[in-house]
């Protein structure tokens, strides 16, 4: 039994190394892709040396240079103060977002229990193959279909544990049959499809286009906002996620874009979408400030994790509604090259 603790510590150390290696490999892949597409390489030998020195000085080792190099390729120059993505994900996030609390963000079926009116109210949830209403009253399968039809013409079903837009299905309720809900037995939430504000339909009308807002619980207990971007779908896809080909642009608190259109590698692709890029210049997304304030407020009431990425839609009444929150592996690296540095490194590096 005395071997278990040191063995466990060794296992964790090896796992951390393995995960760091995977992130490094990802950075190399993204950087290679960017260089191929842009036809230029910003990170020369000299720049690489500067990046490595910065990495050594700030993070104790030069080995965090690959993500900093990715940011440099995107930005066109290296900026001191950036936080490399692997350091963020492996060293900081594991400490900030303890697993047993962050895993609550996977439980879409439970959102309405602690995020009240901020979240989209479920019509029904299915847990352990039983259907419940929002107050946990059991609904029989017969009554469920009637209830769904009475609530909405179209519903969206999302599985617990689904991410990146996977495990989401849209169904019309008019001729809905129970077998359509039961491809499998996983826990899921059934919500009415949100009717988004017309302004949000402008970039791409087929998808629900959401705001990604990130908030951070500072050491003094205040919650601050890090960034907000608008995501929108492409090619007729219903989803706005990057995995589904979605694009994004960063916004300010007034709802105005502060970058062009960015793709899943963080590259500006305005030149591939002239009309859309032009129309975005005059876009003003409503209620962004209110959405950010809601996220800050709700994060304050949930101080169990320090960094949260919220997906928020703006409905037809300009009301922000939380679609999802992410605390397991919420991202941030896109923001660094485009609007960063977004972190005050001194307090967060010293603390770990």
């Amino acid at each position: 039994m005395n071997l278990i603790e040191p063995a466990s510590a060794l296992k964790n150390k090896l796992l951390k190394k393995y995960r760091l290696k995977k992130y490094t490999k990802k950075a190399h892949g993204i950087r290679k892709n960017i260089i191929e597409r842009t036809g230029r390489e910003v990170v020369t030998k000299k720049v690489k040396k500067e990046i490595k020195e910065y990495s050594s000085e700030m993070f104790g080792t030069p080995s965090f240079w690959p993500w900093l190099a990715v940011y440099t390729e995107i930005k066109g120059r290296f900026i001191h103060g950036w936080l490399p993505n692997d350091y963020f994900q492996i060293t900081l996030l594991d400490d900030w977002n303890i697993k047993r609390f962050s895993e609550l963000s996977d439980m879409k079926t439970f959102y309405h229990m602690y995020f009240d009116v901020f979240t989209v109210k479920p019509i029904a949830v299915r847990v352990s193959d039983i259907y419940y209403d929002e107050n946990w009253n059991i609904i029989s399968r017969d009554k469920l279909i009637d209830s769904l039809r009475a609530s909405a013409e179209e519903i969206v079903m999302k599985k617990d544990g689904g991410f990146g837009g996977k495990d989401i299905r849209f169904l019309q309720t008019k001729n809905l049959n129970i077998s359509e809900l039961e491809n499998d037995k996983e826990n899921l939430v059934i919500q009415p499809v949100v009717q988004q504000h017309p302004v949000l339909s402008e970039p791409h009308s087929d998808s629900l286009n959401t705001l990604r807002i990130t908030t951070f619980l500072e050491a003094d207990g205040t919650v601050t906002f890090k960034f907000v971007f608008l995501r929108f779908g492409a090619g007729g896809n219903r989803l706005d996620n990057a995995n589904a080909g979605g694009r994004l642009c960063f916004l300010n608190l007034d709802g105005k874009p502060v970058t062009g259109i960015l793709d899943s590698t963080g590259l500006n692709i305005d030149h591939e979408n002239h009309n859309l890029a032009n129309s975005l210049k005059s876009l003003i997304v409503p209620s962004v400030k209110e959405a950010v304030e809601n996220c800050i407020q709700h994060h304050s009431l949930f101080p169990y994790v320090r960094y949260i990425a919220w997906d928020v839609c703006i409905d037809q009444n300009s009301t922000p509604k939380m679609i999802e929150w992410n605390a397991i592996r919420p991202g941030m690296w896109f923001a660094e090259p485009h609007i960063g540095p977004i972190w005050d490194l001194k307090p967060i590096i010293n603390k770990t």
């Binding site: 697993k99 895993e103 602690y114 847990v127 352990s128 039983i130 946990w136 826990n187 003094d220 207990g221």
Partner: protein
């Protein structure tokens, strides 16, 4: 996509994981069965007699083989037999409960939440004790979600002017609990590593204080969410502290009585080990069967409704206290390893094999 070395490393990694899992399983069962053997030895010493002879042991092994597919589950069944005085078919040995049934009913990602006392009031609002303060990773947060600096905690708590109980997350069996008056708080006394919850020391119903006044005497109610979504209560016990202790946990010397669903009390009390301690409380002499629990229906209803609102786990052990005006409130919940084997041995079988499919 992956080069050859990555593929090989991937396979080695998964083979090592499988090997590690098999070893862990072997170790878990072995430790558990040794525990059963040791407990049985102790019980035989205390009682001065042995019930499980060779014939009975063979019968137990036969039952184990037929019901669970192997005779190896006999140690816990033998312990139950020593406690009960006879073999009862339908028993579930503790190793089957812990390593085969519980992991299926209670997935780990949800059960770990039951260790986090700091979040109970968020999961079950209005049904649990609302904390005055929580400490999360060294940061103090008040009821409104506002951060309080450590050097201001003392002042904040002094303003409450009442007795507080401070409990660590992951604390078990009453360990690590501090009782302090809010005027005497010193943050140096707090455990350093864990998250903490600061609650007011509650006042329990008079009838429970009469049995033993120094601890909050809690009901342990185990609820089971069955396949159709209905929640059943499997058993209810009531615990009392002893010897001046402030906690009622049996591991700290507390005793317990079994309560029927109609509120009737089984007249004998039991200790941590399931050994009878007589019909009176050892300190106050209160006769257990004189106790009335008119609020039992409310306790059952509270636990059932609360379990329904968290249908992610199948078995939950609720600790419930009853306040001065007879309203039950949840103190904590346990989904990792809810109390089982003593009650199964003495009052079970608590489940049919169909219940736990």
């Amino acid at each position: 996509m992956y080069d050859l070395i990555s593929r090989v490393l991937f396979r080695i990694k998964h083979a090592l994981i499988r090997l590690s899992d098999r070893f862990n399983r072997f170790a878990m069962y072995r430790v558990s069965r040794n525990e059963a053997r040791n407990l049985r030895k102790r019980l035989i010493q205390i009682r001065g007699q042995k019930i499980v002879d060779r014939t009975l042991k063979a019968k137990i092994k036969q039952y184990s083989r037929e019901t669970f597919g192997s005779a190896a589950y006999w140690p816990w069944l033998a312990l139950y037999t020593e406690m009960r005085g006879e073999v009862i078919e339908g028993w579930i040995p503790d190793d089957v409960y812990r390593f085969e049934i519980l992991p299926k009913l209670n997935p780990e990602k949800f059960t770990s939440l039951s260790d986090a006392k700091t979040i109970d009031h968020k999961l079950f609002p209005g049904r649990t004790i609302e904390p005055h303060l929580i400490r999360l990773k060294g940061e103090y947060v008040d009821r409104s979600g506002k951060n309080i600096e450590e050097n201001q905690v003392r002042e904040y708590l002094a303003g409450l002017d009442r007795e507080l109980v401070i409990k660590p997350d992951n604390g078990r069996q009453g360990n690590g609990i501090l009782f302090l008056h809010s005027n005497d708080i010193c943050t140096d006394a707090f455990p350093v590593e864990s998250d903490l919850v600061f609650q007011e020391v509650v006042r329990q119903h008079k009838s429970l204080s009469e049995v033993y006044p120094h601890s909050v005497n809690t009901f342990r109610v185990t609820t089971h969410l069955e396949e159709g979504g209905k929640v059943y209560v499997r058993f209810i016990n009531l615990r009392f502290g002893t010897a001046g202790k402030r906690v009622d946990n049996t591991s700290c010397g507390g005793v317990w009585v079994h309560i029927k669903m109609d509120g009737g009390i089984i007249k004998k009390g039991f200790d941590d080990f399931g050994v009878e301690i007589g019909v009176h409380h050892p300190d106050t002499g209160y006769r257990f069967s004189d106790l009335r629990v008119p609020f039992i229906a409310d306790i059952i209803s509270l636990c059932k409704e609360t379990h329904k609102s968290f249908p992610y786990v199948g078995l939950i052990g609720w600790d419930v206290y009853v306040n001065e005006i007879g309203i039950p409130v949840i103190v904590e919940w346990n989904a990792k390893n809810p109390w089982f084997w003593e009650v199964e041995a003495l009052f079970g079988p608590l489940f049919s094999t169909d219940d736990l499919q």
